[in-house]
């Protein structure tokens, strides 16, 4: 008799790794054989998790068609099952998986589309945080400004791609006009954020993207400004920073030591 811990491990392997034989020995036949009984559980696990991924990545699913999506999802679920029960959090690394999934190599824009869809999904789900009170910002001594680090609106994500993923994404939204899609139309820099009950996907110019993306990954204001200047040496930095405050994308800040 297997201890519970070991039974659950071999049961999991029987569901996800197709290593059935060990667990089958512990399942009673009772008419229908153990293999068919275990398959009922596997079917439920794979189909419900596939449906979870489909709802988070509806455009990827449309782009590759539902059957191929299910094939990719099956491989993803077996390699990277959810770690926790809140399934709206499941799929964060699906884009990375697609990047390394050989059958997807003919669709190089798919991982970026998955990144964009995850950003949209996140923006719709996460709890909002009150924006930073501007009076607090105004009270910061000028000399301290370069070494500020910011916490950002948690619904925000920054996605850039060498492909026109925003145009493809828009063309696949419900009610969108059919459009000719030109993959050579060039890349895009996007800011994704919840606005009211909806999610906005907005194109940023490369300097604004560099500034905001750097701040979002924890850079000091001075470093982020440097990133923007590298992309566009003549950028109006003061204007770009004022725009950050107008857009209320900060929720808090800390002074770096």
């Amino acid at each position: 008799m297997l201890a519970l811990h070991d039974l659950q491990r071999v049961f999991k392997d029987g569901l996800l790794a197709d290593d059935e034989e060990t667990v089958l020995a512990h399942i009673a036949g009772d008419g229908l054989g153990p293999r068919a009984r275990l398959a009922l559980y596997r079917h439920h696990v794979l189909t419900t998790l596939t449906a979870t991924l489909e709802s988070a990545f509806p455009v990827v699913c449309q782009l590759v068609d539902k059957r191929f999506f299910a094939y990719a999802a099956d491989a993803f679920i077996r390699q990277h099952p959810p770690a926790r029960p809140c399934l709206v959090e499941y799929g964060a690394i699906f884009s990375e998986f697609l990047e390394g999934f050989p059958p997807c190599q003919g669709h190089p824009y798919l991982p970026d589309m998955a990144r964009l869809e995850w950003a949209v999904h996140q923006a719709a789900q996460v709890a909002e945080v009150r924006p930073l009170d501007c009076a607090r910002f105004d009270a910061i001594p000028r000399d301290d400004l370069p070494s500020l680090r910011f916490s950002m609106d948690p619904t925000l994500s920054y996605v850039s791609s060498p492909w026109p993923v925003d145009k493809i994404w828009r063309a696949h939204q419900e009610g969108a006009e059919p459009a000719e899609l030109d993959l050579s139309a060039g890349g895009t820099c996007l800011e994704v954020r919840r606005v009211g009950d909806g999610v906005s996907v907005r194109v940023l110019d490369p300097a604004a993207y560099a500034l905001r993306h750097a701040l979002a990954v924890g850079a000091m204001l001075e470093e982020a400004a440097g990133a923007a200047l590298t992309v566009a040496p003549s950028v109006d930095l003061i204007g770009a920073i004022q725009k950050l405050l107008q857009d209320q994308i900060f929720t808090d800040f800390t002074l770096s030591p």
């Binding site: 297997l2 519970l4 009673a28 008419g31 398959a39 419900t48 709206v88």
Partner: protein, 290 residues
């Protein structure tokens, strides 16, 4: 709102499981359904979902029916998940909190299914200790639901209803008697559904569930799948009638999770259950053993 201002146990009437496609219509029309049940896992991120639940909570008692605690997993319970559940319980003040006699997590993987347990002394000790921990953390007793099963482990030594009865005795938890699950499990494993009902300690049953199931062909045999995707099947209504005879009128919930119909269809199913509850109330003299 604190947990102590919650409405307590709902009346012995029939409520509905509230699912995302019905939230808008429910809030706009406020149908006269006596109570609602939700899966707390769908509200733990906060955001718009939680805001709509708080709005619904102003007009309806809300019960929490968890699917993520994995009470039957060997090893430690997921403390972060329990914390999130507690935060939500404190915020919404549910009238009931329930979970399943099953496991879903092994080696860091959450398998999104209510998986079957071997009914042994070891499992009993594991599940009882996890129920203790949850009840301690939430500061209230919970109900444990019998799962739908498609297989039985060879080394199980304790019949499921007796296993549930022993859990209730050891931990003080109540039982959520899912009538459809009893029917499905009894069919799939060749058990006697009426005898199953008879083996549950009546005083511990704090809620009942009803739902539809599907009939599937597997290797030439009919297997019932607990898909919550149709009306309650006639033999399940018959079994529910039996359960009411035995347990008396107990708060009852109709669940519908796949091929979700118009809200009115779900409400009509709850209405049917309500009629049977009303009949059980008027019959009165049921033998609700201590």
């Amino acid at each position: 709102m604190s947990a102590t201002s919650g409405p307590g146990r709902p009346d012995a009437r029939a409520g509905i499981g509230l699912r995302a496609p019905h939230v808008g219509e429910l809030l706009a029309t406020r149908p006269a359904v006596p109570w609602l049940e939700i899966h707390p896992e769908n509200y733990m991120m906060g955001g718009a979902a939680l805001a709509s639940l708080e709005t619904a909570r102003r007009d309806y008692p809300v019960s929490f029916h968890g699917v993520g605690l994995s009470l039957g997993s060997a090893g430690l319970i997921d403390r972060r998940h329990l914390e999130r559940l507690k935060t939500l319980v404190d915020r919404i003040a549910p009238c009931l909190v329930s979970e399943h006699l099953s496991w879903s997590t092994s080696g860091g993987a959450y398998l999104n299914h209510l998986l079957p347990l071997p009914y042994t002394d070891e499992t009993l000790a594991v599940v009882a200790s996890h129920i203790h921990e949850v009840q301690e953390s939430l500061g209230q007793s919970i109900l444990i639901e019998n799962p739908s099963s498609y297989l039985r482990f060879r080394h199980s030594t304790i019949p499921e209803p007796e296993f549930l009865a022993e859990l209730a005795r050891r931990t003080g938890c109540g039982l959520l008697c899912d009538v459809n699950n009893i029917y499905v499990t009894a069919w799939n494993l060749g058990l006697d559904a009426i005898a199953y009902l008879g083996a549950l300690p009546t005083a511990t049953v704090g809620e009942m569930h009803l739902a539809g199931h599907a009939r599937n062909d597997a290797d030439g045999q009919t297997i019932l799948i607990d898909d919550h995707g149709s009306r309650v099947a006639p033999p399940v209504w018959t079994l529910y009638h039996e359960a009411l005879q035995r347990f008396g009128p107990v708060p009852t919930l109709v669940e519908w999770d796949t091929d979700i119909p118009e809200l009115s269809v779900l409400l009509a199913e709850a209405c049917t259950a309500d009629g049977l509850l009303e009949a059980a109330r008027t019959r009165g003299g049921h033998a609700r053993a201590a």
